[in-house]
Symmetry: C2
Subunit: 229 residues, 2 copies
DNA sequence: ACCGTAGGACTTGTTCAACAATCCCACAAG
DNA sequence: CTTGTGGGATTGTTGAACAAGTCCTACGGT
């Protein structure tokens, strides 16, 4: 087995510098608006209105829609339009079933040190943000922590799937009143999980994580079915 | 836990009857061509050529492209075109890292009987197909078996992610000479895994499955780096 | 009051033609 | 052998147009 000749990609560390296409930029902008809750669940995205507002053609906008539909952030109802996805209780349960399986398994069989480093960085960021009472950033750090947990498994595709899941979850976060209250109690728990994981106590870390997930799921389920129950 | 009220979706079994849009049908057609290997890895999909061949406009075709790019079956290089994705060794390893984590964890903590039923049906189909020497169908049954394993976890999103992963994997299957030889030895193993799972011997089933995955990964990695080594 | 229904306004689905931006290749110059 | 430099082909993006479908409303029958 001979060493492969160094390509420009390996030299440059695999970074790809390609200006995003208009559709990608539009998708990115809409994605941001959606996960930030500025476009709330169920909102219709009218083509003519949005395309003129963004200064792009309908065709380009429709390409952007396809991207976001593929990410489950928008739903497409033929001849009716595209809408910001609305999560129901089953969706939240489904997402947490996914997270429980993947995150707990990742912690139980650690394979990548990069994931641990991410977890460490996320805990630090969360502590710091809490000290400054920057609650929104605390939430960001919490998400980062769990993406880090997933990264412990060492699969790029798994990481990406998890990032997609979190984007979906934010649709539900928006329904939780006092979103900072959602993440605040988990700061210490994350730190504890990290410490166990670093000491090689994989099983205890995994168990603690499961408790976290059960708790978070219950909170969000309650928020989603909210006043209706 | 009370039973949820039956919605129209549950009554109708969740089937949604909406004629697919043209872009969706084009995407489906191309997806089929790709996973069947009729469009081999690296092939460029020229817009003008394809759109005239399919009798659709370039704009519609580009919407279809966005769908398939989102499924990682096509890659888009701005101003150069879209190409059928080419999997390298790292991709295969990444996919199998994903599968190991998810499938083994699913078997270890069974949560859905529907998954077991799928596994059973897949084993039966595989045996039957092998008896008829229908090797292609044996491969289909093998894939079905492992989607069934994933379904044991009980998350719709996880199932979908796994189906997407298998679509990608077929890009690599096409590189394996004698694809039926790839699946043939696993018929009995699948049956054995199923039996262990049904008897509640989750750990042993999970262990056996891990051996399967390691073996399959090695074969495909060898095929992908193939003649170059 | 309660359907059905027939319009009509509006939105989405799809195509087409055009132009701008970019890539690719062949060829010439150093 | 490397480095410009066209020019041709492909992709990126737009605007207009029409077909197809949905939603709303008013009308008529019962």
């Amino acid at each position: 087995m001979v060493a492969p000749p160094p390509t420009s990609a390996t030299i440059l560390g695999g970074v790809q510098l390609q200006r995003p296409t208009t559709a990608q930029r539009v998708a990115e902008l809409l994605r941001e608006r959606i996960v930030q809750g500025e476009l709330s669940s169920g909102t219709q995205c009218a083509e003519l209105q949005l395309s003129t507002a963004l200064g792009v053609s309908r065709n380009t906008l429709r390409e952007a829609f396809q991207i976001l539909v593929g990410e489950h952030l928008l739903v497409h109802e033929p001849h009716r339009g595209v809408f910001v996805r609305r999560l129901d209780v089953d969706d939240v349960r489904d997402i947490y079933t996914f997270r429980r399986l993947v995150e707990c398994a990742a912690l139980a069989h650690p394979a990548s040190a990069r994931g641990l480093a991410e977890m460490r960085a996320a805990v630090a960021q969360g502590m710091d943000a809490a000290a400054r009472e920057a609650w929104h950033e605390v939430g960001t750090a919490d998400v980062r922590f769990h993406v880090g947990v997933t990264a412990v498994a060492g699969s790029e595709r798994l990481d990406q799937a998890m990032r997609g899941l979190f984007a979906e979850l934010r649709l539900a976060f928006a329904l939780v009143p006092d979103a900072h209250e959602l993440h605040r109690p988990f700061l210490d728990l994350n730190a504890e999980i990290l410490e166990l994981a670093e000491r090689g106590q994989a099983d205890r870390a995994s168990l603690l994580l499961r408790r976290y997930l059960d708790d978070a799921e219950a909170r969000i389920v309650a928020a989603v079915q909210g006043p209706s129950s």
